[in-house]
Symmetry: C2
Subunit: 312 residues, 2 copies
């Protein structure tokens, strides 16, 4: 079963239980309204040695920083501000106190940068590799929360930064080239945390998520949730280098969002003024072809066999 | 470094970061007041194959149920009502769909019994064993939350049920005796979820926590947090069989709490009327000997070398 199939089957099996006020599985975070026009957001991401990182190919501080960053990315992807985390970590016997101290230094650096508290967690032994699971908690005004289901026909589809560098870095790392610029990007992803919160406050932004499995896969989540289609102009995709890595590569942790067409240019100007770098329109949401991306190359339809990155 | 030393060093290193309204590390859960006299509670517990369970010695449904139960126990231990969980699970290649379906059935059975929603999580591959990390979210009225720091000199110390069966079950399991009554208790802990919420509403209950590492270890957390001492009469400890397992054994997941002395007998009567089984007074909180338990046997002081169960 695929990861998405597994999640869908769980969501279905638990659907008959009380929701207790939570909006659950289906977005980057669960949402709990707490009154006064505010909600809390919740997300968990697990990183396993040998699957998400190689202990010989990343410093403990980098692993600590990345463990937190990928969770904050999910909060930002819904327009929230991260406020706290719980950290569970399983440590094998060959991991010493120095390794743990460096891991925590990397984790703390990111926590400090974004003003996030560490409020709980667990530490256990591991019979095998290092396992890290982080739960992040965010806050957002109810009317700033961006969901996958809110894309509208006519919206401009935008991505928040260059794509594909992380995938190229992973390829370098797996080939033993640990010191390339893209290997560094893969080990030290810079998610768009403040940018996500800022985009949350823009009413012209409709749907949003972060890109963790590639546009080819992640955009489909928005299309299915919103019951719309998309036309994407591949020459407009801001690829770090190879287009296929930009479309299908994992772990970019950049934002993917849709914007009311008449306000899209204004948003681009204001974003660049606020953050000093551009965002990129890559296509349009369509009323037809729900759940499907039509790919263009300079306006001509193409039929690539692109799939997203698979973690599972 | 011990688990408690590790947690203390992390708590210290993060103390200078903003709390964002959270009451953090130091109790069974983190606490976030959300207004209208209510707070949310947060806790995470990780279970690792080979450390917390043996895949050949427990059914997948039992592992699923226990993963959730131990987290709900932490919510109940502060007087809260569990409302939702996030479940992260790492699965090795030799775990099939049937195993996962049975795991989820056990998890769902407990979730249904206590009306808890599943609102998020993560699924990943594992290069080694099964790893499960659950974050549980609870709710409580602010004035029902029980903390470790609120024990008062003169309080009666109580435990919520018989102790030590889980430790004896673990001994059986490690000796290959999987079908004993206590092995079943170890695999299927019955935490005092509804009892904890009920005790939360009793103003005469001052400090509370759950017993996961044995009274000898866990009571010291209450004593240190409250800056008080304790005298415990060992003949009053409700041991399932051996006293040492009741005092030092792990994973009982029963409640440990202190009660205003003049209302303790009344509470015992009302608890038994409500739940159909008794709670047990085992000693008194003292103003002197802060952080220390004095052990008595039929009134005579004894000096056992008892330590709590160590997971780390």
């Amino acid at each position: 079963m695929s990861e998405f199939g597994f999640i869908a089957s769980i969501a279905e099996s638990f659907a008959s239980l009380p929701s207790n006020g939570f909006e659950g599985i289906g977005d980057d975070c669960a949402v709990l309204p707490v009154g006064n026009g505010e909600s809390l957001l919740f997300t968990s991401d697990m990183l396993n040695e040998g699957v998400h990182f190689l202990r010989h190919a990343a410093s403990p501080a980098e692993i600590g920083a990345k463990s937190l960053m990928v969770n904050l990315s999910d909060i930002a992807a819904m327009g929230g501000r991260p406020v706290a985390t719980l950290l569970s970590i399983a440590l094998p016997a060959d991991v010493g106190e120095d390794w743990v101290a460096e891991f925590m230094r990397g984790y703390r650096d990111v926590a400090e940068r974004f003003g996030v508290a560490l409020v709980g967690g667990d530490t256990t032994r591991s019979q095998s590799g290092v396992v890290v699971d982080v739960t992040a908690i965010g806050r957002a005004a109810d009317d700033c929360i961006k969901r996958r289901r809110d894309a509208r026909a006519g919206d401009v589809i935008m991505v928040g930064d260059l794509l594909g560098a992380s995938a190229e870095g992973l390829r370098d790392i797996l080939a033993g080239r640990l010191d390339t610029a893209t290997a560094d990007v893969h080990r030290n992803p810079q998610a768009q945390i403040c940018e996500g919160e800022w985009l949350g406050r823009q009413r012209c932004v409709h749907a949003m998520m972060d890109i963790s499995d590639g546009v080819a896969s992640d955009l489909v989540h928005i299309l299915r949730a919103s019951a719309v289609g998309a036309v994407v102009e591949t020459t407009h995709i801001p690829a770090y280098a190879e287009l296929e890595n930009a479309v299908c590569g994992g772990e970019d942790y950049k934002l993917l969002f849709t914007v009311a067409a008449d306000l899209a240019d204004d948003l681009r100007l204001r974003f660049e003024k606020e953050f000093g770098y551009p965002i990129f329109p890559i296509g349009r949401i369509t009323a037809d072809n729900a759940g499907t991306i039509s790919w263009l190359r300079s306006g001509e339809q193409i039929y690539p066999s692109w799939h997203g990155f698979t973690h599972f």
